[in-house]
């Protein structure tokens, strides 16, 4: 993929399929996204800055990014526990639990949203016992956090799983035969080679949680400055016909998303240099 055609392909259709691909990509993805950026030019820099740094917007961004970060941390730790159990141990129902990990990907977000709300509401199966302990989950920032953990579950598991499966057992045997105890082998030998995959999973879970809407808004409470996420604020501004406000918040979130894509690409390149391809 170094740009220069290595040899002329004898297969037909390159021009046609490439032309159609670029056209379709432009019509559906690139022009609409470019329109979003163009729209911000309606605003002066001060206006843009004013919207982005208004108290309500800042709080919404802080809630979205802050809670997403916390949720991604939980996903990293629990993802490692789950992936370790799935790959390294044999236990009854292991294959079923392996399949279950994908449910947050597959379940429509609105369904997840109403289900989590029902579960954690004051009279819900988990909400009631938690309320007795004095912990309120639904309609508070804790609820947002719970929903973000839910949708982020598959990322760390699915990025680390293939790497852990591929890891050479011989390296572990070598470490053990050189006198390393199991603790050392796991933390000094195995874990370092998983770090790029772990960080990739973390970044993907974080990015997903920041942009998430459906599974969060039901359980969130949606109180401005307290439990209002940035995507919801975009929707609210749109319903008030304050398009410029909606666009400015969207641009900030898109730029954050681009930075994360870039980071993930670098991480994957890093992973490739660390682990020789099989």
């Amino acid at each position: 993929m170094n740009g220069v055609p290595r040899r002329r392909s004898t297969l037909p259709g390159f021009g046609l399929t490439m032309g159609l691909t670029l056209t379709w990509l432009s019509v559906i993805i690139l022009i609409p996204l470019a329109g979003l950026f163009l729209k911000t030019f309606d605003l002066s820099l001060e206006q843009f800055w004013g919207i982005v740094t208004s108290r309500r917007t800042l709080n919404a961004l802080r809630i979205s990014f802050g809670l997403s970060f916390l949720a991604a941390c939980v996903n990293l730790v629990m993802g490692m526990v789950v992936v370790w159990a799935l790959v390294r141990y044999r236990f009854p129902g292991r294959r079923l639990f392996d399949a279950i990990v994908d449910i947050p990907f597959a379940l429509p977000t609105a369904v997840a949203g109403v289900a989590l709300t029902q579960l954690f509401a004051q009279k819900g199966w988990l909400g009631a016992p938690l309320a007795e302990l004095g912990i309120k989950v639904a309609f508070t920032p804790v609820g947002i956090f719970i929903a973000m953990v839910f949708i982020g579950i598959p990322f760390v598991v699915r990025t680390v799983q293939p790497v852990l499966l591929d890891l050479d057992v011989e390296i572990e045997e070598a470490a053990a035969s050189l006198g390393a105890n199991r603790w050392h082998t796991v933390f000094r030998v195995i874990l370092p080679s998983l770090i790029p995959a772990m960080l990739t999973g973390f970044a993907l879970a974080f990015a997903r949680a920041v942009g998430e809407y459906g599974s969060v808004i039901f359980i969130a409470g949606n109180l401005p400055n307290v439990s209002e996420i940035a995507p919801l604020l975009i929707v609210i501004r749109l319903s008030e016909f304050r398009y410029a406000d909606a666009t400015a918040i969207a641009v900030v979130m898109l730029l954050a998303a681009f930075i994360i894509i870039f980071a993930v690409n670098r991480l994957q390149r890093w992973a490739q240099t660390r682990i020789p391809a099989h």
Partner: protein
Amino acid sequence: MSEPQALTFTPRDNIHTEPRVIRFVIVALAVLFLLIFVVLPLIVVFASAFSRGLSAYFAALTEPEALSAIRLTLLIAAISVSLNLVFGVIAAWAIAKFEFAGKTFLVTLIDLPFSVSPVISGLVFVLLFGAQGFFGPWLQAHDIRVLFAVPGIALATIFVTFPFVARALIPLMQEQGTQEEEAAISLGASGLQTFFRVTLPNIKWGLLYGVLLCNARAMGEFGAVSVVSGHIRGETNTMPLLVEILYNEYQFVSSFAIASLLAMLALITLVVKTILERRLDEGQVPSDD
């Protein structure tokens, strides 16, 4: 992967694995976490849907509003899956079968919708086709409705499901190379004949895999569709939007009845996906992310 066994180990295992107590704790933590965060919400959906009995459940599903939402969801899925199927195959052909500059960048652009918040995926079409949008005045003058109508919902759905088919096919077609197609061409087959007789049979499982995931997302999309739909009752509400409306009106049985259909769609998708992955494992595997 071997068949599941009980938690047993021999003394020799000590250098390869953790002490029995730690193994038990890790498995217990993993299982407990998945049960609480994934299985329990799924059970809540069905328990709430059937909480007033079967007749209430089926009555909720046969309400005119529910039927119109189901019809609209199927229509939108049919439109967006078939368009993304055709263009996904075309894009995969161009990317997997030829070498050109900027290929990695093109793949990143195709993946872009996965990183964009669903709300923003809807917003971009509001900015294009809304009353204050770029094409808004022209559309109004010609009396064409895009926003708050089927075309807008379809566009937003096509946007969010854009990468699925291409992404399932590209790694598969790259691994299969071009030799078989070149042989067919040199024996005098036309391009289309080569595609339908040689390439398509080779990629059919991968194609089905992409279509499956694309369809699941198309039927379940909420955020993007919510922004462009306008929530006109009986007209522009898809199933996920109706779940929201009924839930906010405290019609829990009706809301969860619709939600249970979507949950079943998700479960069926997962089962078929697992079967397809096993079939693809025998040949080549499309990367999952």
